[in-house]
């Protein structure tokens, strides 16, 4: 068996004395689909950012496909096959949707030809259109990002993450702000992802988290408190207690 896609070992992160996460460990096999759930402030995003390389963890280590990436910068992790979306929208707002995906395609590919005119690259633009279609934005490429609806922007996020042809795809609340119909589309899309893509999903929305994942990790107060199959989590009294006491609208 190959190396696991991701190994998080005893990772803690403090911000000015406040421990955001404590000794979190996590192992994801290649091709697995994992959801991390938890209430606001549970430390999900901190964990996510530590894995993505936004900041180094205070203690602990992170291995990506067998390689220690704990101290490597974000860009290098991306080149190793890690793609992520952002919680708040950080799209290239002054560009069109197609341009956004075009740029995303360039991160790991097209090393040469940087100085070729961007428009003289029909192959790449074809791939842009295919990706837009795949996430449900066919023909919307010419739209300015600013003119897209919130849901469409999240779809675009996904297209950009997929553009990297990731081995590990990390999605940060991809369904936030989605209508029920869009949620359905998203679940279908995620289920149809090729099997070789490992998926790490951080989600408030239990429906999506449980529908997509093969395994679910529950975080609370900066610690991992539970791990199990969607069915186990659905039936866990502890989870129900946390969620009912927490601030989540979409409690199961």
């Amino acid at each position: 068996m190959a190396d696991p896609a991701l190994v998080v070992r005893d990772v803690s992160k403090s911000f000015g004395g406040v421990k955001a996460i404590r000794d979190v460990s996590l192992e994801i096999a290649a091709g697995e689909r994992i959801s991390v759930i938890g209430t606001n402030g549970a430390g999900k995003s901190t964990l996510f950012n530590a894995i993505a390389g936004v900041f180094p963890p205070t203690t602990g280590s992170i291995h990506l496909f067998g390689e220690d990436v704990t101290r490597l910068p974000t860009a290098t992790r991306a080149q190793r096959g890690l793609a992520r979306t952002f919680q708040t929208s950080r799209l290239f707002e002054q560009l069109s949707a197609a341009d956004n995906v075009f740029i995303a395609l360039g991160g790991n590919e097209f090393r040469g030809g940087l100085l070729r005119p961007a428009r003289s690259n029909p192959k790449r633009w074809e791939r842009v259109e295919r990706l837009l279609e795949r996430v449900g934005l066919p023909g919307r490429g010419e739209q300015l990002v600013a003119d897209l609806s919130h849901g469409e922007q999240r779809q675009l996020e996904l297209a950009m993450a997929l553009a990297l042809q990731p081995k590990l795809l990390m999605l940060d609340e991809p369904a936030a702000g989605f209508s029920p119909a869009e949620r359905g589309h998203l679940i279908t899309l995620l289920r149809e992802l090729p099997q070789e893509i490992t998926l790490l999903l951080i989600e408030h929305d239990m429906d999506i988290a449980l529908a997509v994942a093969s395994r679910v990790v529950v975080m609370h107060d900066g610690e991992k408190i539970l791990e199990g199959t969607p069915a186990e989590i659905r039936n866990s009294a502890r989870v129900r207690e946390i969620y009912l006491g927490g601030s989540i609208d979409h409690a199961a």
């Binding site: 952002f86 950080r90 991160g107 940087l114 100085l115 961007a118 428009r119």
Partner: protein, 365 residues
Amino acid sequence: MTAPETLVTPTATGRSRSLWARYSWIGWVVVLGLALLFPYVVDRPRFWLPNIGVRSLWLGIIAMSLVFLNRYVGLLSLAQVTIAGISAYGVGYVMVTLDQPFFIAIPVGITAGTVAGFLVALIAARTKAIYFLMITLALGQVFYSYASQAIEVTNARRGLAPIKKPDLEIINLNDITTFYFAALLAAVICFLLCRYVAASTFGMALQGIRDSPERMAALGYKVNRYRIAAITFSAFIASIGGVVLVFDRAQIDPDVVSLGSTLDVLVVAVIGGIGSLGGVFIGAIILTLLDNFAQDFTDRYMTLTGIVFILVLLFAPAGIAGIGAQVKRAFDRRRKNASDPGDDPQQEPTATQPTGEAITKGKQQ
């Protein structure tokens, strides 16, 4: 999750363009035509060509390098004048101190300016926006105080003179009309170069970095390298401006890199339109005209400049070059309101919205 009802046109060539984008080349031809005619329609070419024409051109080139950085990288650099000055000092040093011909001096000057820009980039690329502004301002002053003191290299306040314009037998740049055309050629080349780089894959990535460096890193881009490359490129453009400057002034002294000169170029960029590569030349023409004629009607030339500067920032943040678009947007809005009142208000573009659509169209040419 597909929507088969829409057929997608896969390449850029199939994209629809606005009328403006399609015919804007005519506008450029007109502008270039006017610039080419300039020497023949003015009554006193010996005044208009150097004082307004050539000076506007090098001010414009330097301001353009500033605008390129601001527009495509999101960095406002106040060291562009310094870089142009370093290039000019390079030319002056080779020609005056080392007594070498211009064809050695010019490449040395441009190289010196570009390398200086690279060093600035190494120091400043990690910072952003407002820090970058302050650091480049301070670095500019480092060089100013160095240039004012280093007798061995810059001849301190006396500066290096005379720097004679090249005489190539067939083309004698001492002829002011010829020199004007040479400067014009340099400006056009710089402009096209900036446009080309902006429209390249590299330029696209720069805009991504400008809008969201975090995402670009997450997409696998080494953000810093791109920033450094872009700053170095803009330094190259500024260095070309410096070469035109030094031959125009025929001497180089610390005044060229003083705070006042830095402000001049900033005023040019802001008045012309800090988002517009071509608009800087309008700003440059306005500044040189003010410089030459404002004192005929006011003693408080700086106050006048400052007021214009602030008014532009308050009411026409895209500069003179953006006023056309601003008016057009307001007009469109009114027309739209008139034609279909109350229809679909959330789709309506607002005046404050960045005209990114126009950018995209612009890049297609």
